[in-house]
Symmetry: C2
Subunit: 445 residues, 2 copies
């Protein structure tokens, strides 16, 4: 079993290896090193230098196409023509803020609300998932008067100070807030009611502990897929009991839908819907504008009431006319091209194929997923998480021009997220590449 | 003297007045009311519904052009062709994040660093000014180990939880953090050394108070123009003593350049440069991409060292390829079209003209500004701040299709920010419109 990677970036380039790069990449790496914060990291043992994007491909400076099965931002594929067209037209026409009337903003807010549970009536637009989580926390604190937050043990919720304080996966260099309690990630391989009961009990205990310390329980925040905890999509429904416990303890349930949202899971537009629950606040981000910065929250009237009345909130770029045009195009493409259904069908096929591949080797353990968000456990001879091996697989796939990464507390879970437009053949291509890499490793190459 | 407006939005539309709107605006207002947070506000007593932007004009649904002398986001003018072209080309080619190599990112970071003092070597990109301030606070807390922050009494620094906690102008609905101390805004009408000494003394006392409470002094944060405090541009240089006090007390100096940055003040690219100081961290935002969401910080090596090593920071959309293309175009236009010089020259002319106008009426008091950021005190018969009159002037100008707003703790300072491209004739046009409005009021119309 490898050491926990919590806090270190999974699959990051080590600058000590810069000498092994080609001249042009080395030059860029060195210039980055001088002018950007040392906190900036590159992906993969050999970083990539892309100059063009088209559908599922990112194309490097030498013209080589890479199958981008990692990117959940451009989830319609790179440079999707409908989004490009919407942005191109809007940026030349008008780009302004939400303090003037504009149909685009209102139309989009209505369409977005229609995809959510009917209790989630009101939207606020921001620019990033971090801002959405941060805003959700402010809403919860205002509504409950209590700052305490409960999250899972390797959660990641964002980069603002308030979001980083509830993100244990950032590691010991980023202290958790004194108002934060962590609970174990959902258990695996049990029934929905068992998983749910266990998680619910832990959340109830954490909430009680916050009350006992005089901090008070304000909110439970969870990524409905538990991505950074290593992916826990199944069995759908296990969040029901947790949701009830949160309500009973007087806190708000904040669904972090930055990863599972916008049809990624195949079963529903939103991850919480797979579980049959209704959160108080939902935070959205990443794929919302297929790459244009736009994010936001929707919330119930009750949750937003105090905040809306007492706390002026104006986000200069949040809901700007161009980002809204991109977001509206994304919703249209998801709907018109049936991408929710495609995510479900192609995701299920890829899950099956990956399970067949995993059954052929001792290196792979459990394979799980919802729609086109899939995780594969990489394990050592004792069946324990093997982050080093996972990293090796990720980098060998990169050499074959397939982009995935790894997740989980040990970085041992292959993180596979091809675009929502992936076809059955493309899914097979991805699985075949993984099978080839495993053969390569087995063959000692 | 009118009541302090701190906490209420200045120049906001009152939804009780919806009946007075035309049918299409009323419909949009009602739909906004149903689907957006009640916290969303519209500008002006009669909200505006724009459908197009071109240069200094915003054009409403009836085809009427409004001179936008309020917008410091699209500070090159609306839909500037160079920016539109850069975005149009990049969005069709590649939009990805900073974890791959890309020349655009590195080129821009280098060009941006070149506009700053040479000690400010390293950049981090975010999406909004709020994220930049929030990040600056995280950097300061990591570098000093102390959370205490000192700000001015009506400061506004952003909308994340951490930024809102240091923004007294948001009012009592948004509590200040227990780690926050406020000092009076810079005095008016004194010499640089007097203003500086007064502010420095207050900052030193606040820093000592933070230490006395065991919180510790981590940072002083100030908008180099003190916009929300009512604008205090002069005399340049008064921040020098403050800067020294902050250093002596062991905190970081965070310059909030979201308002004064990118040539707005005419004297220098950055507001802090007018004062001859070098901050530890600089937060940038608004006009950086002429409307595309992009923002960031630059910092000294010493300030960033701990944070860069210990705290992973990845902002999904921060420094994305398309926003960087927009930002690079903005820098090019500022440089190639001599907009810093234009801001200085035309700003000085507008300041002169506004002073002549102010001298003709008892309604206006002090007129001040730096470059194309100008403020005019609106006063009552006793010379006290008159926010109601200011609002009346703002709304009468809006009826004449000139857009400005008001600022300051009483909302009594006219806030005038025409684009950096404003010509002398256009400046005169703006001043003439104000003079006409004053005549109209004097004539009892």
């Amino acid at each position: 079993m490898t050491q926990s990677l919590t806090g270190r970036m999974i699959n990051g380039f080590d600058i000590a290896d810069a000498d092994e790069l080609d001249a042009s990449s080395r030059d860029l790496v060195e210039r980055r090193g001088r002018v950007l914060s040392t906190g900036y990291k590159l992906l993969y043992a050999r970083p990539l230098h892309f100059v063009r994007g088209e559908g599922r491909y990112l194309i490097d400076a030498d013209g080589h196409p890479y199958f981008d099965a990692y990117n959940n931002v451009t989830s319609l594929g790179h440079c999707h023509p409908v989004v490009v067209d919407a942005v191109t037209r809007q940026v030349a026409k008008l780009n302004t803020n939400t303090r003037y009337l504009h149909e685009g903003l209102v139309d989009y807010a209505e369409r977005l609300a229609d995809t959510h549970d009917r209790a989630l009536t009101r939207a606020i637009f921001t620019c990033t998932g971090s801002e959405s989580i941060d805003l959700a926390l402010r809403i919860a604190r205002t509504a409950t008067g209590k700052p305490g937050v409960v999250v899972t043990e390797n959660a990641y919720h964002g980069m603002t100070m308030a979001a980083a304080e509830i993100s244990p996966s950032l590691g010991t260099g980023v202290p958790l807030g004194a108002h934060v309690r962590v609970v174990p990630a959902p258990a695996r391989g049990a029934t929905a009611s068992e998983v749910g009961r266990q998680l619910a009990r832990a959340v109830a205990a954490a909430a009680a502990d916050l009350e006992r310390h005089g901090i008070g329980f304000g909110a439970f925040v969870a990524d409905s897929l538990f991505s950074s905890d290593g992916l826990a999509p199944e069995p759908a429904g296990f969040l029901r009991e947790v949701r009830n416990v949160v309500r009973d303890a007087g806190g708000l349930y904040i669904a972090d839908e930055v990863q599972p949202g916008f049809a990624r899971t195949g079963d529903a537009m939103w991850g919480y819907q797979r579980h049959g629950i209704v959160p108080d606040v939902v935070a959205m981000g990443k794929p919302m504008g297929n790459g244009l910065p736009i994010a936001g929250v929707v919330a119930t009237d009750a949750a937003l009431d105090d905040f809306g009345r007492n706390a002026r909130y104006f986000n200069t770029f949040g809901g700007n006319t161009v980002s809204i045009a991109a977001a509206a195009a994304v919703l249209s493409v998801i709907e018109e091209d049936g991408l929710l259904e495609n995510s479900r069908v192609v995701g299920a096929r890829l899950l099956d194929r990956l399970r067949v591949t995993a059954a052929r080797t001792v290196m792979l353990g459990d394979v799980r997923g919802a729609g086109l968000y899939l995780g594969v456990d990489v394990v050592d001879a004792l069946g324990q998480p093997d982050g080093e091996r996972a990293l090796d697989i990720v980098n060998r796939l990169r050499e074959r021009r397939f982009l995935i990464s790894a997740m989980g507390p040990h970085g041992s879970v292959l993180k596979i997220r091809p675009p929502l437009t992936t076809t059955a053949d493309e899914a097979d291509e991805l699985n075949d590449a993984l099978a080839d890499v495993l053969d390569e490793i087995t063959g000692g190459r």
